[in-house]
């Protein structure tokens, strides 16, 4: 969170994170070139320019696959949450690598004639009915345009101005970019490269990514089933004393939306589980400095009234909580965003429940 507009709110964590990613990308590209040179020397090899192009393309595609794997990995295990916080930086780095790959390829293949390289790129090959000679470069160009849109609107400025809903919709296009790149590789390199390593790597990456997203989707779907409500607006949220201090338990309503019941200073409060920033799961976060801290990007919300601490103005819905016979119950009728509720002191409630 930041009070005023800054291009990037750099922190030590972000600097270390980005340095590791850039270092890994450079090491990947150098290793790719060196290993290829050693493995396929002389006449069996390809030119240095093509080798660099392939290294850049492979690096960008691999990094995109890793970037798209972080979300489902975090859904499956909170251990991956630390790598999620700067996922947007990964996306921007993917775009930059793709831009260098695309720019270099355009200059190398189309920059030496008497036609504008971009015109040449768009018009040189029109064999759309051929698998072996399909103009796969256009698929890469389309993916690059999508990645540019993602990178250009990755700042929180755009989240605020487009609204979270439309920003999320726009950024779902990254999967379109991934599909275009799969087709770009399948109809490009795969048509000329006879080494089995390429199709095996492509298929493995694709299957792993799809498997992770589908597995995470199924796990989430199970959680969304919700509790049967009957006629009462109060739903059971489990044993009160099993919610760890500073943490939450997320429960699903019969409508499927989730509520996070937080325990802070031995008192319970309930808020909507969706972070107002990018829809992160607040219930998987923890209370830091008296505020619920979203596990995705660290946005903060006060547990008792669903408001961001001043000077921020974000608000989310809150819910009434009660403890009956040692069990937490939440009223699923949401209060207005920012409506204050009295946190339910856990110890007193438990004692009263026990006496009763």
């Amino acid at each position: 969170m930041s009070v005023r507009y800054t291009a990037v709110g750099w922190s030590r964590h972000k600097l270390v994170y980005d340095s590791i990613v850039v270092g890994a990308a450079v090491a990947f590209i150098l290793s790719f070139v060196v290993i290829s040179k050693v493995t396929f020397p002389g006449a069996h090899g390809v030119s240095d320019e093509v080798l660099v192009l392939r290294a850049l393309g492979t690096c960008g595609f691999t990094l995109l696959t890793i970037t798209l794997s972080i979300g489902p990995l975090c859904r499956l295990s909170p251990r991956f949450l630390p790598v999620l916080s700067n996922r947007r930086h990964l996306g921007v780095i993917v775009f930059l690598i793709a831009l260098v790959h695309g720019g270099f390829a355009t200059v190398y293949y189309h920059g030496f004639g008497n036609v504008n390289p971009l015109v040449s790129l768009l018009s040189a090959n029109t064999q759309f009915n051929s698998i072996a000679s399909f103009p796969y470069q256009l698929l890469g160009l389309a993916a690059l345009v999508v990645l540019f849109l993602m990178a250009a609107t990755s700042h929180d400025y755009w989240v605020k101005n487009l609204t979270q809903r439309w920003w999320k919709r726009l950024h779902m296009m990254v999967y379109l970019a991934y599909a275009l790149l799969v087709a770009h590789v399948a109809l490009g390199s795969l048509q000329v490269e006879r080494n089995l390593l390429l199709p095996v790597t492509l298929a493995t990456g694709l299957l792993c990514l799809a498997g992770l997203h589908i597995a995470a989707g199924i796990v989430e779907r199970r959680k969304d089933r919700g509790y049967p409500q009957g006629g009462s607006p109060w739903i059971d949220a489990g044993l009160a004393d099993t919610i760890p201090e500073g943490r939450a338990r997320a429960i699903a309503t019969s409508g499927g939306e989730r509520i996070a019941v937080f325990r802070h200073q031995s008192a319970l409060s309930a808020v909507a589980n969706v972070c107002p920033h990018q829809g992160g799961p607040l219930g998987e976060g923890k209370v830091i400095d008296g505020c619920i801290t979203c596990p995705w990007h660290g946005w903060q919300i006060r547990p008792h009234d669903g408001c961001s601490p001043p000077p921020f103005a974000e608000r989310i819905q809150t819910y009434r909580v009660r403890v009956t016979a040692g069990r937490v119950e939440v009223n699923v009728q949401a209060l207005a965003p920012g409506a204050a509720t009295e946190p339910v002191p856990l110890r007193r409630q438990l004692q009263e429940s026990t006496r009763g």
């Binding site: 093509v50 293949y109 189309h110 920059g111 030496f112 004639g113 008497n114 036609v115 390289p117 040449s120 018009s123 040189a124 090959n125 698998i131 072996a132 000679s133 999320k168 779902m172 999967y175 599909a179 799969v182 087709a183 399948a186 109809l187 490009g188 390199s189 795969l190 048509q191 000329v192 490269e193 006879r194 199709p199 492509l202 298929a203 694709l206 299957l207 799809a210 997203h213 589908i214 989707g217 199924i218 989430e220 779907r221 969304d224 409508g255 499927g256 939306e257 989730r258 969706v274 829809g279 799961p281």
Partner: protein, 51 residues
């Protein structure tokens, strides 16, 4: 994410994954037995097709 977004995401992957696999398998199955020798880009006409 809201429930609608989560459901949409799962449905999208259930459609996208088979499609992407089909594209890769088709591209592999229909590729020529020997790589087509691409034409080198002409210094005069531009628009090369080498890979």
């Amino acid at each position: 994410m809201t429930r609608g977004q989560r459901s949409g995401h799962l449905i999208m992957w259930l459609i996208l994954a088979p499609l992407a696999i089909a594209v890769v398998v088709t591209a592999l199955a229909l590729r020529p037995a020997a790589p087509v020798e691409p034409a080198l880009p002409s210094k005069i006409t531009s628009g090369g097709a080498k890979r």
